[in-house]
C-alpha cells in the first residue's frame, strides 16, 4: 500500500484511539487500551529487529524489564522524575544493547538466539536476587503516577492519554525509520547479507543500530507500562510478555510495519475478551504460534502479499 493511502488512515485511527476514554466509563476497558498501545510499541520494536533485520532476539524481554526497573528506581530510589526515568531507561538499554550486541552479532544465528535468551534470563535473575538494588521478589510497589507541566496523570483515563501520546510518538519514529534508506538496508540484510556486503555495505553497524534502537524503545515502553501497573517485581520479566510480543509480530506479519501495528491493537484486546483461565489462554497462545508457523508463517500481511504477488504474476505472463 502506498504511503499516500495508508498514512491518512493511520492518522484517523490514531485520533479515533485517542477518544477511547471519552466513549467508555469503564476503567477496565481503558486499562486494556493502555496495554494494547504499549504492547503494540514493544511488538513494533521486536518487528524492527526480527521482522526487518531478521534477528530473532529474545533479549527484548530483558530490555523491557530493565526499562521498567530503571524507570521505577529513578523515581523511587534516586528521586528523579518519571520522564528522566524513561530517558535513562532508553539510554541504558541502548548502551547495554551495544555492549552485548557487538560480540553476539558476530556469532552465528543459532548462538544469537541462545545468547539473547540467556540475557533475558540473567536480567530475571538479577531482578530476583540482587535484592539491594531491586528489592527482590517483593518488588517496588506504590509507584506514583507522573506529572508534567502541572498536569497530573493520576486517573486511568489521564494515564491513557500519556500512553497514547507515547505510543504515537514511538510508532511515528519507528515508521520513519522503517521507511527510510536505513530500513531498506535492514530488509536487504535480512534477505541477502552476502549481496549487501558485495555492494559495499557493512551489515554490522546496521544490525547494531537496529538492536540498540529496539532495545531503547522497548525499555521506554516497559517504563510506561510499569507505572501503569503501579508496581514492578520480577514477574514483569515473565516470559509471557515475550510470547505476547512474538505472537503479535507473527500474526501481523514479520517485516510488515502496519501488519504488526494492526495485530498489536487487535490481539491485545482479545485475551481480555476471551476471559479464560490463565492456563487455557496460554494453551491458545501456543496453538496459535504453532498453527501460524504452518498455515501463515508470514502472518496476515504476508498472506495478503502472497495473493498480490500471485495476481501480478498472472497479469505479467
Amino acid at each position: 500500500m502506498k504511503p499516500s493511502t495508508i498514512l491518512p488512515l493511520a492518522l484517523a485511527a490514531a485520533l479515533a484511539f485517542a477518544l477511547l476514554p471519552l466513549v467508555t466509563s469503564s476503567n477496565y476497558i481503558v486499562g486494556v487500551g493502555i496495554s494494547a498501545l504499549i504492547f503494540t510499541v514493544a511488538a513494533a520494536a521486536l518487528n524492527l529487529v526480527y521482522g526487518f533485520t531478521g534477528l530473532l532476539s529474545f533479549a527484548q524481554l530483558g530490555f523491557w524489564g530493565i526499562g521498567g526497573y530503571v524507570t521505577a528506581l529513578t523515581v523511587v530510589t534516586f528521586g528523579g522524575s518519571f520522564w528522566w526515568g524513561l530517558l535513562w531507561a532508553a539510554l541504558l538499554n541502548a548502551v547495554v544493547a551495544l555492549v552485548i550486541g557487538y560480540p553476539t552479532l558476530r556469532t552465528n544465528r543459532h548462538a544469537f538466539v541462545v545468547v539473547t535468551l540467556t540475557f533475558a534470563l540473567l536480567v530475571t535473575l538479577i531482578a530476583r536476587d540482587w535484592v539491594d538494588l531491586t528489592r527482590g521478589p517483593l518488588g517496588i510497589p506504590d509507584l506514583p503516577k507522573p506529572s508534567a507541566f502541572g498536569h497530573h496523570f493520576g486517573s486511568t483515563s489521564q494515564y491513557y492519554w500519556l500512553a497514547w501520546a507515547f505510543s504515537v510518538a514511538m510508532l511515528a519514529f519507528l515508521y520513519a525509520l522503517c521507511s527510510s534508506r536505513i530500513g531498506r538496508t535492514l530488509v536487504a540484510i535480512k534477505q541477502n547479507e552476502p549481496l549487501v556486503r558485495a555492494q559495499g555495505i557493512s551489515p554490522m553497524p546496521y544490525k547494531l543500530a537496529a538492536f540498540a534502537i529496539a532495545a531503547a524503545v522497548t525499555g521506554a515502553a516497559g517504563g510506561v507500562y510499569t507505572f501503569h501497573l503501579g508496581i514492578i517485581d520480577p514477574l514483569f520479566l515473565d516470559f509471557y510478555y515475550m510470547q505476547t510480543f512474538l505472537i503479535i509480530v507473527i500474526i501481523g506479519g514479520a517485516g510488515s510495519f502496519w501488519g504488526v501495528v494492526a495485530a498489536g491493537l487487535v490481539l491485545s484486546a482479545l485475551p481480555e475478551a476471551l476471559r479464560f483461565s490463565a492456563d487455557f489462554r496460554m494453551i491458545i497462545y501456543g496453538v496459535i504460534l504453532v498453527a501460524a508457523m504452518f498455515v501463515m508463517p508470514s502472518g496476515v500481511a504476508g498472506w495478503l502479499r502472497e495473493r498480490r504477488i500471485a495476481r501480478l504474476r498472472e497479469q505479467l505472463r
Binding site: 520513519a176 527510510s180 534508506r181 536505513i182 531498506r184 538496508t185 530488509v187 536487504a188 534477505q191 541477502n192 552476502p194 549481496l195 549487501v196 556486503r197 558485495a198 555492494q199 559495499g200 555495505i201 557493512s202 504477488i309 501480478l312 504474476r313 505479467l316
Partner: protein, 265 residues
C-alpha cells in the same frame, strides 16, 4: 592500456589441498577477460579471494594501483570491484527499482541526516541513481518490471538484474561468476549482447564461465586455470588450440582432439 586488476601469486589451501597454488594474472582496463578451467581448478576460489569473500593464504591483489589484498568484502566493493554470484543474488522482495537503489546507496555522499532533512545533497543523489538505474534497466530490457518485486522474475531475468545492480556504482571492474549458468539459451545470447554493449561503452569485465561459446564470443583474453595453477593465457583462439588446455579439459592430445572432431563430421 594499463592493468586495472593485478593478481600476484594467489594462494589458498583447505585442509592440505591447494585450491590455489600461486596464481598470477592481470586484467586490462576496458577488456573482457575470461577465467576458465575444469571443475576444481580454483576459479570460484580465486574470485572469492579477490572479492574478499574468502580469506586468502598468500598473494597480492591490486585494484587500479591500490592494494586490496585481504580487505573485507565491503571495502573491496567500495574500492571499485563489484561482483555477481554463481547462484544469483538479488533482493527478491524488493522492486527492481529498490534493488538498484540499494546497489547505489553506499556510493553517494548523502547520510541519514541528509535523508531526514531532505537536503539537496540527498535529492540529487537519488535523482542521479534513478537516472543510472533507468539507463541500465533499458539496457537489460526489463522496463516493464521497474516497480515490480524481482522475486517474480525468471532465473535468467534475475541474472540480468544482478548484472545491472553490479554496474550501478560505475565500478572499475565487474567480476561475473558464471553469468549464464542455468540460463536458457535464448537468454544467454541476450546477456552476451548486453555485456558486449557495456564493454564498448567502457566497462571492464572478468568473467568466470564454463560455456565455451560464450567466452569465445566475448573475451579478448582468456586465462585457463587447472588444479590451482595458471595453465595458459592468450586469446580465445590460442586457448582452443593449446595442447595443455585440451589435455586438462578433455584429457586428450591435439591429435586425438582432431581425430575426434573428424570422427564427428
Amino acid at each position: 592500456m594499463s592493468a586495472i586488476l593485478e593478481v600476484a601469486d594467489l594462494r589458498k589451501s583447505y585442509a592440505g589441498v591447494h585450491a590455489l597454488d600461486g596464481v598470477s594474472f592481470s586484467v586490462e582496463a576496458g577488456s573482457v577477460t575470461g577465467l576458465i578451467g575444469p571443475n576444481g581448478s580454483g576459479k570460484s576460489t580465486a574470485i572469492d579471494c579477490i572479492s574478499g569473500f574468502q580469506k586468502r593464504d598468500g598473494g597480492r591483489i591490486v585494484l587500479a594501483g591500490a592494494d586490496i589484498s585481504g580487505r573485507p568484502a565491503h571495502h573491496i566493493a567500495r574500492a571499485g570491484l563489484m561482483r555477481t554470484f554463481q547462484t544469483v543474488r538479488i533482493y527478491d522482495r524488493l522492486s527492481l527499482r529498490d534493488n538498484l537503489a540499494v546497489a547505489a546507496q553506499q556510493f553517494d555522499p548523502a547520510t541519514w541526516v541528509d535523508e531526514l532533512l531532505r537536503t539537496r545533497r540527498y535529492r540529487e543523489a537519488v535523482e542521479q541513481a534513478e537516472g543510472r538505474a533507468r539507463e541500465l534497466v533499458e539496457l537489460i530490457g526489463l522496463e516493464r518490471y521497474y516497480e515490480i518485486e524481482t522475486g517474480i522474475l525468471s532465473y535468467g531475468q534475475k541474472k540480468l538484474v544482478a548484472l545491472a545492480a553490479a554496474l550501478m556504482p560505475r565500478p572499475k571492474i565487474v567480476v561475473l561468476d558464471e553469468p549464464v549458468a542455468g540460463v536458457n539459451p535464448s537468454r544467454i545470447r541476450e546477456i552476451e549482447v548486453a555485456l558486449a554493449q557495456l564493454n564498448r561503452a567502457g566497462e571492464t569485465f572478468l568473467i568466470v564461465e564454463h560455456n565455451v561459446e560464450f567466452i569465445t564470443n566475448l573475451c579478448h583474453r582468456v586465462i585457463v586455470l587447472d588444479q590451482g595453477r595458471k595453465l595458459a593465457e592468450g586469446t580465445a583462439h590460442e586457448i582452443h588450440t593449446d595442447a595443455r588446455v585440451l589435455e586438462a579439459y578433455l584429457g586428450m592430445t591435439p591429435e586425438m582432439a582432431e581425430a575426434e572432431m573428424r570422427g564427428m563430421a
